[in-house]
């Protein structure tokens, strides 16, 4: 009897989850494990020769100054972008759920940057920063636009942040909109009857109810920003003088340009662990908050 139950369970697992698990393992997990194996070799990416060298690559990761500075830069980028995206997306969502005329049109409009892929976005904005902004600066003599943002390390960094915010705020806005719409009407009415002001209502009812949206949006923004590659390549390419190389781009260059595949792969793994730790911490912290709220 028990055995039959078991067989049934296996059968239903395979029936429903089988195909998904098969594809997932074949495409993501197996290559990932194979990639981990490569971190223990001295493979240069081309030759047939590939020797096991133990943890040498991981030791080298700790000696690679550039990797750690790229990682620090990535952390700064993630922190600033994540906060900015949440603030703007939240404000947009707030305005676009207040019953304005044409709010659907606006929602659609703000989502538009997501219709384009990362590499293309980078090229479009490169054109905007290096040509359109400077032409605009030349016409108006606004100092901020007179020279290209991409020639100064700090401005180039904020160019990356700006494009990220531009793209993700529309996406996250939709999730916040859904959150606002999901706040039960009767709760708001009850609050109003009890004499809450608008601000009080937002602070004590709407925002706590939205904490779930917060945690999801933060999770999504966080993980995406950590792995930024396309935009980095096509917008700044790491320039000026290598000052905007972020972790994923550094890893890629290590593996391919410097011909140290094993080291690059080991650095990618470190990046993965960092992202995983940050993402999981964030997720659990916000989950706990949700419960408290």
């Amino acid at each position: 009897m028990k055995k039959k139950l078991m067989a049934d369970k296996v059968k239903s697992y395979l029936m429903f989850a089988g195909p998904a698990i098969f594809f997932f393992f074949a495409i993501v997990i197996i290559p990932f494990i194979y990639g981990v194996y490569l971190t223990f070799t001295n493979w240069d990416g081309i030759s047939a020769k590939k020797e096991l060298i133990g943890f040498a690559n991981f030791l080298a990761v700790f000696q690679d100054k550039d990797f750690w500075s790229a990682l620090m830069l990535t952390l700064a980028y993630v922190a600033i972008s994540t906060v900015a995206v949440q603030v703007i997306a939240f404000l947009l969502a707030y305005l676009l759920t207040s019953g304005l005329k044409g709010q659907n049109f606006f929602r659609a409009g703000f989502f538009t940057p997501n219709l384009i892929g990362g590499i293309v976005l980078g090229f479009i904005w490169q054109f905007v920063f290096s040509k359109a902004f400077t032409a605009f600066g030349g016409m108006t003599s606004i100092p901020l636009f007179e020279s290209s943002w991409l020639s100064d390390p700090l401005k180039a960094f904020f160019a990356l942040v700006l494009v990220t915010v531009w793209q993700y705020s529309g996406y996250m806005m939709l999730i916040y909109v859904a959150g606002f719409v999901g706040v039960p009407k009767d709760l708001i009415e009850a609050a109003s009857i009890d004499g809450c002001t608008n601000t009080q209502r937002t602070r004590h009812i709407v925002i706590p109810m939205m904490s779930q949206s917060f945690s999801i949006c933060t999770f999504l923004t966080l993980t995406r920003c950590f792995m930024v590659y396309d935009l980095n390549v096509s917008l700044t390419g790491g320039e000026p003088y290598g000052s905007t190389i972020m972790a994923a781009l550094h890893v890629y260059q290590k593996a391919f340009k410097s011909k140290k595949y094993g080291l690059g792969q080991a650095e990618a793994l470190v990046l993965f662990v960092v992202v995983a730790v940050v993402a999981v911490t964030q997720y659990y912290l916000s989950k706990r908050k949700e419960v408290e709220a």
Binding site: K9, S12, M15, F16, A17, P19, A20, I21, F23, F24, I27, V28, I30, P31, F32, Y34, G35, G45, L92, L95, S98, L100, K101, G102, N104, F106, A108, G109, F111, T112, P113, L115, G117, V120, F123, W125, F127, V128, K131, A132, A135, F136, M139, L174, V177, A178, V181, S192, N198, R201, Q212, S213, F226, M227, Y229, D230, V251, Y261, F272, V275
Partner: protein
Amino acid sequence: MAKSKTVVGGAKTKVLNAVKLIVLSLVLLLYMVPFFLILVNSFKRKITIIKHPLMLIDPKGFSVENYVSAFKEMNYLRAFGNSLIITTVSVLFIVLFASMASYYMARSKTIASRLSFSLIVAAMVIPFQTIMIPLISIYGNMFGMLNMRSTLIFMNIGFGMALAIFIYYGFIRSGVPVSLEEAAIIDGCRPYQVFFKIVFPLLKPTTATLIVLDVLWLWNDYLLPSLILGKKALYTLPLSTYTFYGTYSNDLGKIMAGLVLTILPVIAIYLLLQKQIISGVVAGAVKS
């Protein structure tokens, strides 16, 4: 302030709304600047694009020349067909397999089910660069599966699973009542029947969201297709747009036209499905 004093606050609300509307319009305008620039410049000659990027119309006149040559050189119809096949088939399978798996994972409390789900969510933070070379080593070198559309579709399905299951899982847990299924089982429905007749239709809003997100991702994807599809005849739209990027010079006019031609179908779909996308469909994501 304005909330319940509806009668007195009418004028005030109106002013406030007008201000909001103006602010939003301005911000939206700023958001649209890059698109506008691309569109305007796609009708100009390269030299004018470079020297006067903000000029609306080329001194030598408005010209569709870029479009004509981009259309021809990209082999637009062929690339469009490839993009269409790859995107549609991939999305179809992602939706099917992911919804089935999420349903199982959301309902079953076995270790295997929980383990699978955690693994899939954890995989969302794997950087693509980590698996890029191993992936093409395995499927190219071992199985010789490169230069086939079906290989790319196969991989898209694998890569699409994580987000799709993540989104479906949350929605099923919170949005699909178990009682309906139990009733169906009592009525003698088999597991697949329960899923396809009862559960799947209830997932419609989430499915719509997912389709939109996946279509956007796959239609614009560049890196993976560039690794798999090495033959011109198999190029997707983004791949063929990149043929205008040269080593020392970029064919800006054609690039702009190519971009417009690539985005156009997406915009069309977007306008068509706008309602589904906007009206809270992302709720699926929220509820997970």
